[in-house]
């Protein structure tokens, strides 16, 4: 009874933003010929009911609820249409005839029970009979049927709406299906640049199933066979949808347009429900557009500072790009740049992050349920991804600011096969140093640069290759004396292979490198060169298997080989008496296997269960000290030195890590989520300063230094309002940390071959609750968050010797109980926008002097127990304006200006409070980093 049927679709000129809408028919039209099945016979049931003063959309809803009809219309067109009808045993066509009498509206009903509402021109739901010899549709209205002449011209603005109304046939009748279901796969991309969109939600409303695109913009979704409306939404992009007729497994690539609200007059009914429906909790995504909206110091858009505006993320102060996620220390964050591990993501000792904003696509921060794919750090994963580069044409971007200049080039290398993006950024801070009135600094030099290269290559439909290279370097010379240098170098290659529509894998191999050095030759006797470096080579294979919509499996293996040179100090010049001091290299292998399943138990209940098993080997060659048991570890308590040969396994640590999360949707826009995680971390950052510094050294776990263990349980409640344009959430968490390293008084961390004598095991607990209100669309958008949290540490090492604060819990340096963040953006027009950033937090804890005394000829201070007092509260407001050049698409250059003020109220927020003895007198001081309002101006040009 089902026969092939060809139908004509009319498309219009107007941009339409509705689930159920039909393009307005205008002069330029096109014919899209599709093949569809004829559905069951037209719905013939009659309608009863009183429809009084109903706006048309509500009327349509009611009809849909009692019949099989589906309405398609443009809400903007029908907004003045009110229905007043009493129906008794009426057919829909009778009802609509009556409703549209004396109006400009027309309707058309096709054999699939789709009802199209248009103004002025009725839709022909069938081809003229000369083509098919059949006509099953009915039309009605005041005018006679108009037949349109098809043309091949598709105006740009019509394209999207035409794609949205076009019916895509997926697969073939005899194609592969599984129990009445078919797998749809494809890529979601940016229509302008062809770049993959990560984290886009691809879903159906009914039945409620959906997936999120992976790092390549790829998705795989299992659908029941039949007719569906596939919804797609992604942050910063216009929501779109596709009409599907699914017959068997198939592919569909979808391109999305950038979301520029003021360019579009139509009503926006966003479908951003991913915060409700996603299984993960505690995941924050920010695209570069959002990051660039946040006013930044000296106008330099900064990925890490943007992350600091998120709930649950704090830092010890403004000069630190080290951040603390839910009470974790700064070294417990895994920072990935296209899967390369970045050990020091900062420039100028922490004032700026080392990621060029022009190449960044966005960041994702996992702070609660960390996917089983990731491991090796306790607190969070910050995944920074770059763009793939424009696949359509060569283009570029240049920026000039007070501190840096940067240039980005991108484009196709091989048309539709290979794209590249290359960027470089450098500073000219030297002139600032020379401008200093103080002669002391005039001989100082500061410089940094960073560069990125990313190449994406499509071998064929099943294989793609990706190459990422990253380089950053900082140099600082103080008074022509000591020279400091540090830098990262990373490279990795990814190969993605699609086995079939349900199964794909990614293999990644990479090298990561970080080094730090300082040298001085001003005094020939003491001339030295101190340096340390670390290298890691990693390989991982990650697989994704989606056997059905109820299960999504991911599994894989990973292995990292660490080689650390913890420090060496060597003489410089023939007169130097410095003894070469080289701390022996350390090496270790960290391997892991993981498997996880996202299991949709019922449409409202979903569960993710993951297990990661990590395995760590500390490898020779190395000398290992053994200590007397039960007494504090000191050089005096060393019993023996054991020598291990190269490659010999010295110590193994291993253990399972559990990742469980659960989501229960209470309604379409409300859900509850629960998650529990355990994690293990085998490397430690040795830092005895409040803020992490580039000189801090990483240390591998060894027989005397235990791996850090962490666990977190969190519970969240999510609710969206106003058609999901306002998202709200409350998340609470409790986490524990074990074997976190703290330091003995006067610990020596540099060039120390037996670190274990200077460190103490600490355990920590952190808990808090985070409130977030976020408006994602509209002229006014942004978010407001409030976090209450505590982070407490305790030394409970029985053989520590001395115990900080007598072994009681004390607040960590980044414990800031109250924290409020406001990010607001208002777009006056397509060219002008304004952003506001407000930050408030409790001052961080410090150890205050509580008494003075005379000793050794001067006044000295006696300090309180650790972190018993706090510096004054922190408050800052920033403002920025962005002015875009005009939006003519075809001009050669697009430019934009941004200007603003950082720290608008010029509040002198203390970074630290300290006491110094100058000429025998104790003085209290506070140091603020940005203690005044700092205006900035920057210029960007895109070509």
């Amino acid at each position: 009874m089902q026969g092939l049927y060809t139908y004509l679709l009319l498309t219009g000129h107007r941009t339409i933003r509705s689930t159920r809408s039909l393009s307005r028919v205008l002069l330029t039209l096109t014919i899209l010929v599709c093949t569809v099945f004829t559905a069951a016979a037209q719905d013939t049931r009659t309608i009863d009911g009183d429809f009084n003063d109903l706006p048309f959309p509500k009327f349509a809803d009611r009809i849909e609820s009692i019949t099989h009809y589906h309405f398609f219309y443009d809400p903007a067109e029908v907004d003045s249409l009110v229905i007043n009808i009493k129906a008794r045993q009426a057919h829909l066509s009778d009802l609509l005839d009556l409703a549209f009498k004396n109006t400009v509206f027309h309707y058309a009903i096709d054999p699939q029970n789709n009802v199209y509402i248009t103004r002025r021109n009725a839709i022909q739901t069938t081809l003229p009979s000369l083509l098919t010899g059949d006509s099953t549709g009915t039309t009605g209205g005041n005018d006679s049927l108009t037949t349109f002449t098809p043309t091949n011209t598709i105006p740009a603005k019509a394209l999207r709406s035409s794609l949205e109304s076009k019916l895509f046939e997926i697969g073939t009748t005899g194609g592969k299906t599984t129990q009445g279901r078919a797998t749809l796969t494809g890529y979601i991309r940016d229509i302008r640049s062809g770049e993959a969109l990560v984290g886009a939600a691809v879903y159906l409303d009914n039945p409620p199933i959906g997936v999120i695109t992976d790092q390549f913009g790829y998705f795989s979704l299992q659908l029941p066979i039949g007719r569906h409306t596939l919804q797609v939404s992604s942050a910063g992009m216009k929501d779109t949808k596709r009409q599907l007729l699914v017959r068997s497994d198939g592919k569909l690539n979808i391109e999305m347009e950038e979301f520029i609200p003021s360019l579009i007059a139509a009503t926006v009914v966003a479908e951003k429900r991913s915060n409700i429906k996603a299984l993960q909790m505690g995941v924050e995504r920010m695209n570069i557009r959002t990051i660039k909206q946040i006013p930044a110091v000296l106008g330099e858009a900064d990925v890490l500072r943007a992350v600091l505006t998120l709930p649950g993320v704090t830092s010890v102060g403004e000069a630190s790009t080290g951040f603390n996620v839910r009470g974790g220390s700064a070294d417990q964050n895994l920072i990935l740049f296209n899967d390369a591990t970045i050990y020091n993501p900062s420039h100028l000792f922490g004032f700026f992050s080392a990621f060029n904003p022009d190449i960044i696509k966005g960041v994702e921060l996992y702070k609660s349920s960390i996917p089983e794919k990731y491991g090796g750090r306790l607190s969070s994963v910050l995944d920074v991804t770059t763009r793939d580069g424009n696949s359509k044409q060569l283009s570029g971007n240049a920026g000039i600011g007070p501190l840096t200049s940067k240039l980005t080039l991108e484009g196709p290398l091989v048309k539709d096969k290979t794209t590249f993006i290359l960027s470089g950024r450098t500073t000219y801070a030297d002139w600032l140093l020379k401008a200093l009135p103080d002669k002391e600094y005039s001989n100082s030099r500061a410089s940094f640069y960073d560069g990125d290269l990313h190449i994406a290559h499509t071998i064929n439909a099943k294989n793609s290759l990706y190459l990422t290279g990253y380089l950053s370097n900082d140099q600082f010379r103080l008074n022509a004396d000591t020279l400091y240098k540090y830098g990262n170098r990373n490279v990795n290659v990814k190969w993605k292979h699609i086995f079939n529509s349900k199964f794909y894998g990614v293999a990644t191999a990479g090298l990561d490198h970080y080094q730090y050095s300082q040298s001085s030759d001003s005094n020939p006797v003491n001339a030295y060169d101190f340096s340390y470096r670390l290298d890691q080579s990693s390989f991982h294979a990650d697989f994704n298997y989606t056997p059905g919509n109820r299960n999504a499996l991911d599994f894989g293996l990973s292995s990292i080989y660490y080689r650390f040179q913890p420090g060496q100090n060597v003489p410089v010049g023939s007169q130097s008496l410095v003894i070469p001091d080289i701390v022996p290299r350390e090496q270790a292998l960290e391997s892991a296997a993981y498997i996880g399943d996202q299991y949709t138990i019922t449409p409202s209940l979903a569960l993710n269960v993951g297990l990661r098993y990590s395995f760590y080997n500390y490898l020779g060659p190395h000398d290992v000290y053994t200590y007397e048991s039960g007494v504090p570890r000191e050089t005096a308590s060393i019993l023996d030195t054991l020598h291990y040969a190269s490659g010999k396994n010295i110590k193994t640590y291993q253990g399972p890590e559990y990742r469980v999360s659960l989501r229960y949707t209470l309604s379409d826009n409300t859900s509850v989520k629960l998650s529990y995680n355990t994690l293990r971390q085998y490397i430690h950052l040795l830092s005895n300063t409040t803020a992490i510094s580039p000189a801090d050294i990483w240390k591998l776990s060894d027989p005397n230094i235990l791996p850090q263990l962490g666990s977190q349980i969190s519970l969240g409640f999510y609710q969206n309002f106003r058609s999901n344009t306002i998202e709200t959430s409350i998340e609470g968490y409790y986490k524990t940390i074990q074997h976190f390293l703290d330091y003995k008084s006067g610990a020596n961390l540099l060039l120390n071959p037996h670190i274990e004598t200077d460190v103490i095991n600490t355990k920590g607990k952190a808990y808090g609750i985070e409130f977030l209100v976020k408006k994602t669309t509209g002229k006014l958008n942004g978010w407001l968050s409030y976090t209450w949290s505590r982070t407490l540490l305790k030394m409970d090492d029985p053989i520590a010797g001395e115990l900080i604060n007598n072994g009681n819990y004390y607040p960590a340096s980044f414990d800031k109980p109250h924290s409020v963040n406001l990010i607001g953006n208002y777009r006056f027009s397509q060219r002008y926008s304004m952003s506001v950033n407000g930050v408030y937090s409790t001052g961080r804890p410090i150890t205050l002097p509580i008494a003075t005394f005379d000793l050794g000829g001067g006044q000295r201070v006696y300090y309180s127990d650790r972190n018993q007092y706090r510096i004054p509260d922190y408050f800052r407001a920033d403002l920025s304006f962005t002015m875009e050049g005009n939006h003519k698409v075809h001009q050669r250059f697009h430019n934009s200006w941004s200007f603003g003020v950082y720290n608008l109220t010029a509040r002198k927020n203390p970074y630290s409070v300290y006491f110094t003895e100058e000429n025998g007198v104790i003085k209290g001081n506070q140091l603020s980093i940005f203690g005044t309002a700092i205006p900035f101006l920057s210029y960007n040009i895109r070509f």
């Binding site: 004032f351 005094n523 509580i850 008494a851 201070v861 506070q926």
Partner: protein, 386 residues
């Protein structure tokens, strides 16, 4: 190897970002009302043959209290005890000072200090070995080309390579002159008279000497070097045109050797008070010395006992050895009075002003700080070594 140089660098970075603004402000902490009232024991047992040892006992003060006036702890019993059983009691000099008679300690023994305070609390140090200081090789100075400041530094070495950890303190003495030279002087009753002819030049208030002790904790270590050598460790910086080298300057540097834990103690104290205030500050460390309270084990005691020989070296710097060193100009206006009888004793009521010279019937006066060098803190007494 100086990782702490990073601190200066970081402070510089903050300057860099807004050159015209100071980012450092005075900070008065919220009232910290409790004074822990801890005992502070300050003193090094001088193990030199026939040397005397002085200890000073005091109590901690609240942060808000006026500085400099520490609370002395008099009336205590202070005893040095050797592991061979020798015992030496120090005499209470009042004001919290306790002094020994000349002692001859055995360099091979260990010594400890026992203290019983007025309120009956008992304190005891660990027994520590005697360290022997090598001689100071030289004291050098260098004037910086751009700033014009003079840095005095110390050089030493231990051929036996036993020392490694050094601590220094110094006494600096300098001669300076009042800006204006007056032949007139005031006697104890405030009468003006000619100093040149009548009594003696002892009344001349033009030539002065002043002394100060070092206040910073000065430490050095040679553990990173192939020899036990300290090269040009800075002791002090004299700012350009300071009064100290207006005429002639002298420094008597003292050197003693610390044990490794003692060095650690002073290093922590140094860091806690002298090196804080930048971006990458270390956390203040707990200060745990080698004195213990026997009557209350939870009561912290401040101080670290070291026993050792002390080596000294004196150096001089004359004004001619430095360049561009003129402490002036001074604000020295003159004032006249015609009431003064010539060649007779005369009284001038305003003590902020002092006599400058007579000319005819007129007495010229200038600010006392201009004509009386003692107004700037020195004494007229020429030191014996000058």
């Amino acid at each position: 190897m100086r990782p702490y140089a990073l601190y200066y660098l970081a402070a510089l970075m903050s300057l860099l970002l807004y050159p015209s603004m100071g980012c450092k402000q005075a900070f008065t902490p919220p009232a910290l009302r409790t004074n822990p009232d801890l005992l502070v024991i300050d003193g090094v047992v001088n193990a030199g043959t026939g040397a005397t040892t002085t200890f000073t006992l005091s109590r901690t003060q609240k942060i808000g209290d006026s500085l400099g006036a520490h609370t002395p702890e008099p009336g205590a019993q202070v005893t040095i005890k050797g592991s061979n059983g020798d015992s030496y009691t120090l005499q209470d000099q009042g004001n919290g000072n306790y002094q020994s008679t000349p002692l001859s300690l055995n360099l091979a023994e260990k010594y400890q200090v026992l203290i019983t305070t007025r309120n009956g609390s008992k304190y005891q140090s660990d027994a520590v070995p005697v360290t022997t200081a090598p001689p100071i090789d030289s004291l050098g100075f260098k004037q910086d080309d751009s700033s014009g400041n003079v840095t005095i530094s110390i050089n030493t070495h231990d051929p036996a390579a036993n020392s490694h950890y050094y601590r220094w303190f110094f006494t600096e003495t300098w001669e300076y002159h009042a800006p204006l030279m007056s032949e007139l002087a005031l006697d104890s009753t405030g009468h003006i008279f000619y100093a040149i002819d009548s009594l003696s030049q002892a009344f001349l208030v033009y030539y002065c000497w002043r002394s100060d002790n070092s206040t910073d904790i000065l430490l050095g270590n040679s553990t990173a070097l192939g020899q036990d050598r300290i090269s040009q460790a800075p002791l002090t910086v004299i700012p350009r045109a300071s009064q100290k080298i207006q005429i002639r300057y002298s420094m008597l540097a003292s050197q003693y050797v610390l044990t490794q834990p003692a060095y650690q103690y002073w290093l922590i104290l140094q860091k806690n008070t002298q090196s804080l205030g930048t971006l990458f500050d270390p956390q203040p460390s707990q200060l745990i010395g080698n004195y213990h309270c026997l009557t209350n084990a939870n009561e912290p005691v401040i101080g670290y006992l070291s026993v050792g020989t002390i080596r000294q070296l004196r150096t001089f710097i004359s004004n001619s050895q430095v360049s561009n060193w003129d402490p002036g100009p001074y604000d020295c206006p003159t004032r006249t009075t015609d009431k003064g009888p010539t060649y007779d004793i005369y009284t001038y009521a305003d003590t902020a002003w002092g006599p400058y010279y007579f000319s005819g019937n007129t007495l010229y006066l200038s600010r006392r700080t201009c004509v009386d060098c003692r107004a700037q803190g020195g004494t007229l007494q020429k030191p014996s070594f000058w």
